[in-house]
Symmetry: C2
Subunit: 419 residues, 2 copies
């Protein structure tokens, strides 16, 4: 691979390509994505060969190995995902409103593509396909900066995308895969003249780095420090099922549970009911003093006293903080300090307290009597997502197709002036 001295010439080409992508009709974009799905299926063997080259370079036992791996089933998943995105409604071109303003001027507010979307991600090659699909569907060009470890897989997939772009008469620069060298990340983050939005997708360290160094507006798809508050009127059987599911069903994802807040009135009964299930999964509990003394009595084997840093901590593992609270206000205060504003749940049969929780908790998603694991673009009916936004501007919660647009004000007149 020839590494260029600067990626700016490539970014300029991608900016120009964005004009061609923006001009595609909705049905052309559908056809393009369906064709790409076919091409992916036709080239399964080739994709697996290239993926194997990446897999061989990675050390055995590396936890990223599973994320990197592509087999027939996963490749079919990529094609399915493309076909699904192809069917989603086109978010660009919609007229949000039309209004006649002063002097007969005709004002139209229209949704339009963002332009060039940059995504920086780590080892999962499916991100390459998901991002390209969402960007093309919404009329955007994209710049992809993937991880070194997925180089051959990503290059192969982008090669297939380029073939389809060419078939449709589009410049291949519409989907730009950057060299993996790290220093190009800095050049990308400074290129606010050519790139309209940056989405870091990966570890907290990556997200922090991008936030602190980007001159381009950023969507943070951040960490999830998720709580479930077991209120005093909770159906305790449901509460146990919800808490266990939220913690162990997929421990490494951002919508999984990190901390249980349990009302003092039911702490004994709830924790006693919870522990056998947590024990099955060897969940390590970090308990505040009150919870510790309750749990200790039962002889639970994976117990330790919570340190301050265990609250507000995203475990991404079979680990869970537990704190006994005196009621809703105490729980709300805890959340105001420790919540990462991702997904927060209450389990309660009291409608008034439930409504207060749903209203007052400041988070992207708030739940009553359900597991926080449902926070997901697909589950919410938005199609594939690029991540879960924990910031409040532009997009909050699942960042999906409908947010890959901006607005444009169009004013048509016949000579009007404003003195």
């Amino acid at each position: 691979m020839n590494t260029p001295a600067s990626i700016i010439p490539q970014l300029q080409q991608t900016q120009r390509a964005a004009t061609a992508v923006r001009a595609l009709s909705g049905s052309q974009k559908t056809d393009l994505l369906n064709r790409l799905a076919d091409v992916i299926i036709e080239n399964q063997a080739h994709i697996m060969t290239e993926n194997h080259r990446d897999m061989e370079r990675m050390a055995d036992g590396d936890s990223k190995k599973d994320r990197l791996f592509l087999d027939n089933k996963r490749i079919e998943g990529l094609a399915d995902s493309l076909r699904q995105v192809a069917q989603l409604p086109d978010p660009a071109g919609q007229v949000v409103f039309e209004r006649e303003i002063e002097q007969g001027l005709k004002l139209t507010k229209m949704r339009v593509p963002l332009g060039v979307v940059g995504v920086i991600f780590e080892s999962r090659p499916n991100v390459t396909i998901d991002v390209a699909a969402l960007c093309l569907r919404s009329g955007n060009a994209c710049v992809l900066k993937g991880g070194k470890e997925a180089y051959f897989s990503n290059a192969c997939l982008v090669g297939l995308i380029h073939g389809v772009l060419t078939e449709f008469g589009l410049p291949t620069a519409a989907v730009l895969l950057l060299p993996t060298d790290r220093h190009f990340v800095n050049e990308l983050l400074a290129a606010n003249q050519y790139v309209d939005i940056i989405i870091p997708r990966g570890s907290d360290a990556l997200i922090q780095f991008v936030r602190q160094n980007s001159r381009i507006p950023t969507i943070e798809t951040g960490a999830g420090v998720c709580h479930t508050y077991v209120e005093s009127t909770a159906n305790l059987q449901k509460a146990v099922e919800i808490v266990v599911n939220a913690r162990v069903s997929r421990p490494s994802v951002c919508n999984s549970l990190d901390c249980v807040l349990v009302d003092a009135q039911v702490a004994d009964a709830f924790l006693t009911a919870l522990l056998p299930d947590f024990n099955k999964w060897n969940v390590e509990i970090f308990a505040d003093e009150t919870a510790f003394s309750i749990i200790q009595k039962s002889g639970y084997p994976h117990l330790q006293v919570a340190q301050e840093a265990d609250f507000g901590r995203e475990f991404l593992d079979y680990k869970c903080a537990v704190k006994v609270v005196s009621g809703l206000d105490d729980a709300l205060t805890h959340l105001q300090i420790y919540s990462s504003k991702h997904s927060e749940a209450i389990v309660s049969e009291d409608q008034t307290l439930t409504d207060r929780f749903l209203l007052e908790v400041d988070a992207a998603a708030v739940y009553a009597n359900a597991s926080t694991r449902f926070t997901d673009g697909g589950v919410f009916g938005l199609g594939a997502e690029i991540g879960i936004s924990t910031q409040k501007l532009h997009a909050r919660g699942p960042f999906a197709l409908e947010k890959l647009v901006t607005e444009k004000w169009i004013v048509r007149g016949n000579g009007q002036v404003r003195w």
Copy 2:
């Protein structure tokens, strides 16, 4: 005034106050703003006395003096603005959609207040009232960092706001006026735990400083380098009226014109028609080579050859760049390089070329046959604005009440889990 060592305790109070503001009903917010309008009118003499203290500290001939000054008419304007905002529809609390998702979970997407809005601004005391009104109307608390030169005016106005907040049983921390010391700006910009959004309103230097130093998501209300393209089929009389209006009607504002692009086919006729009007206003022209030779022939007295830096320059004065282009594509290329993506216009009688311009130009507002001076929240029917956003995320164009909200996903279940 007692200057605290740190503003963090104040910001924490404001964050708590945000909960109280969020809980207000729409009609309570209307009443509060109307009451504040009355209080402003009742206290006109007091406001003018305090404003006079600021005016006296400012040097004669300081260009900021007019922005700072408050008289009866301007104070009545503040009250009128409050009453107008009081009547605007409440942007918070609206249900964007409701949907039943898997397992019978009920999903609601609702608009909710952002929380705490921070605004950093310079000498105009009316910003204090506008921002407080828009934030309270939308259920937000706010943090105001005004300029030193308006200290007495701002303190007086915020004192009146605090009186009304107290009457309505709200904590005065809901509208926090920070000390004017500059170093508190840095503390504010790092306080992403307490402040949800920062809006710099003022000079380009201020905006750049905030963008580069803020850890809080920022709305850029940026510079406007606005162009008008006089296409070959343009009605030249309308073109002259539009260009003159856009340049001279209010030269210091961001939607005023900075550069005329004129098609070579009509350059001679258009410029000859334009010059007498420009001469009346002593508009200084920075012309490219071709335009220079045309204008020079007419003996126009305020003419010089444009340097590269005169394109893409926001003049904010009776100054204007002029460039002759070979057609629409040449104009679009110029815009892609030099536009600040604020407001751009075409004057043309050709519908196809006009539509291409409106579609392809990447700007917050695009105009056909009208002055760019109409880009304004009030004119667009949005009520008072905090500024014109030139970025693409969250808000583009006039940043007004409807954008002072975020979204929240609410999920109601009865025990659902996701394995």
